[in-house]
């Protein structure tokens, strides 16, 4: 088939447009990376655009030798790791039991869960609850109240429903209990869904900011996002014990941004493999 002239023009314009759009998303990152590897004088005089000027590792040395930033990084790693385990434990148990046909109250339970999707828990009463549970200013406040995401629950539940009944029944015949069936039969089959949901949870924990803003008072428990926000807004990295001679705070700001997104970029290729299936599963369910 001959391709018409107007079609050719469209393909050309479309390609240019999509490339520009993508570029608009990438240029800021290129700029930040260039700044993070540049010397303070070059940054302050506005010479750095998309390539490092007077290349140096100074900014990274400053960020990585700052104990407050390192500590916040550690807090975020801890919350992400333990928090995701808690998420998976709660979500998997609920999704597995409600996906079994032996579970008689599935309809009622699903409505019970869906209602919370429409009426979100109000902010102040939740705060009062956290306070009366004694979770204020504790890292548990960042993990327990967000133990289940209803969206992720539905993704996992609809996946587990697809596990063939016969496989589970044959495991029963062999005398396996519920927990063993779940761990030895369902887990291996649901691996892609578990990975999707686990990575979704991990990214959410890593990026979460509001919960810490509300529940964490002590600076020692600040997760990285809160610390990063402080650095971006106030621009003063607490570097009292350090040599401040060539410290460009703008360079440090940008470097902290890079450091905070490196873990995300590191897991991104793995997420990308799974999230399309996860999104469409959840989308259909809704």
């Amino acid at each position: 088939m001959k391709i018409s002239k107007s079609r050719k023009t469209f393909i050309f314009v479309n390609t240019i447009f999509l490339s520009l759009l993508t570029l608009s998303m990438m240029l800021p990152f290129v700029n930040i990376i260039a700044i993070s590897f540049s010397e303070g004088i070059a940054i302050d005089t506005g010479k750095v655009t998309f390539w490092p000027v007077l290349p140096t590792l100074e900014n990274y040395q400053l960020v990585f030798s700052n104990s407050a930033i390192l500590r916040s990084f550690g807090v975020s790693v801890y919350v992400t790791f333990i928090g995701t385990l808690i998420n998976l434990l709660f979500t998997v148990l609920l999704a597995y039991s409600l996906s079994r046909k032996e579970f008689k109250f599935k309809k009622a339970c699903s409505i019970f869960i869906l209602i919370t999707f429409v009426f979100s828990a109000p902010l102040i009463p939740t705060y009062i609850l956290i306070k009366s549970l004694g979770l204020l200013d504790s890292l548990w406040a960042l993990m327990i109240p967000s133990a289940i995401s209803t969206f992720n629950y539905f993704v996992l539940e609809s996946f587990m429903e697809q596990v063939p009944e016969e496989i589970i029944e044959s495991a029963r015949m062999d005398g396996a209990g519920e927990l063993r069936t779940l761990v030895q039969i369902v887990f291996p089959l649901a691996k892609p869904a578990l990975a999707t949901v686990g990575l979704f949870y991990a990214v959410t924990h890593w990026n979460s900011y509001m919960a810490a803003l509300m529940y964490i008072r002590s600076k020692a428990y600040y997760p990285l996002q809160v610390k990063l926000r402080e650095i971006i807004m106030e621009g003063n990295v607490d570097a009292s014990s350090q040599d401040m001679v060539v410290l460009s705070s703008y360079g440090v700001k940008m470097t902290t941004i890079i450091v905070s997104i490196i873990p995300i970029l590191a897991v991104y290729p793995f997420i990308q493999k799974y999230f399309v299936s996860g999104m469409t599963l959840g989308g259909v369910k809704e």
Partner: protein, 323 residues
């Protein structure tokens, strides 16, 4: 003979079952107690962390005092609701929330649909995949990072990319963050920038599900590519679009705390503050628990009404609804 007696047995079982219907549920629970036990932590979690706070909204009708608790605090009826209805600041916040929510539906909602349609026209798979991989990335970054990127590398008057190009073209730099008139555009643009790529996933999946025979048949009939988009692609994904739109309207009032808070400052507060950030500022930072819960309750009711009305309209007009 053997068959006959077996049938009898079944009839007997059924009769017994209907007499003791109550017990079958109990039997089921006892028999599968492990299964029910496994569901318990999750269901309890919903009860404690979702339903308890919902019930805690009762403090909107009290003068809640942390030390007196729910039972000790006096009921004051609609005092807090009457108070905020007379408060000029309240209508400013209501207007901001509605206007920003409306902008979000007008500009942010169609953006991923258009992008998905454009991506679908790309025939070179490697190029398409590369674009997809890259435009999904911003979705996975936090609002703190997005705010940092926007305020510094994109919008800053001296280091920002936009002003860098403006300078090259000979224009004066624009002080985006210090003019309140820009803030709503910034909130919407940053949202589109973050989620336009990721939002395409649902629509691309819907497009991929369209029967290819439809395209073949119509091109035999001489339909152009553009016509196919309007007669085949868009109608085929319309049901997904309507569902996504209803979901969006259901969360109309929940534009999002974090995405506004990271851009919020004393300068732009009048144009940018929405219910979520207001409740945080007045309720948590100002410790006006009852008053801000009343505001939150008002927000939820408006959101629910919007959802019910749009669901009703969509049922009538497009025969599609969430429930």
């Amino acid at each position: 003979m053997a068959i006959y007696s077996k049938n009898q047995l079944t009839i007997g079982d059924q009769a017994r079952g209907s007499i003791k219907k109550k017990n079958t549920v109990l039997d089921n629970i006892l028999k599968h107690r492990a299964l029910y036990f496994m569901a318990l932590p999750g269901l309890l979690w919903y009860l404690i962390f979702k339903y308890l706070p919902m019930m805690g909204s009762i403090i909107a009708f009290q003068d809640y005092n942390l030390f007196k608790g729910f039972s000790g605090s006096p009921f004051v009826g609609l005092k807090h609701f009457k108070f905020f209805m007379q408060y000029p600041e309240f209508f400013r916040i209501l207007r901001n929330t509605l206007v920003i929510g409306l902008y979000d539906i007008i500009f942010s909602f169609p953006a991923p649909i258009i992008l998905a349609l454009l991506l679908n026209e790309i025939t070179k798979n490697s190029f398409k995949r590369t674009i997809q991989t890259l435009v999904y990335i911003p979705h996975f970054l936090s609002w703190v990072v997005i705010g940092g990127i926007f305020m510094n590398t994109i919008l800053s008057p001296d280091a920002g990319i936009i002003n860098y190009f403006l300078k090259i073209l000979g224009f004066d730099p624009i002080f985006f963050m210090s003019k309140p008139s820009y803030i709503r555009s910034i909130l919407i643009t940053s949202g589109i920038w973050k989620d336009i790529g990721y939002g395409t996933i649902v629509y691309l999946a819907a497009i991929a599900g369209i029967n290819p025979n439809l395209y073949e048949a119509s091109s035999v009939d001489g339909a152009s590519r553009l016509r196919q988009v309007f007669v085949i692609t868009i109608p085929s994904i319309m049901s997904v679009v309507v569902v996504m739109l209803l979901l969006r309207i259901g969360h109309f009032m929940d534009f999002g705390f974090e995405r506004v808070y990271v851009f919020l400052s004393g300068i732009n507060q009048d144009a940018a503050e929405i219910f979520d950030t207001y409740i945080y500022r007045v309720g948590l930072q100002g410790s006006q628990f009852s008053y801000s819960t009343a505001v939150g309750l008002f927000k939820s009711v408006v959101g629910l009404v919007l959802l019910l009305v749009s669901n009703f309209l969509s049922k009538k007009l497009a025969d599609k609804s969430l429930f």
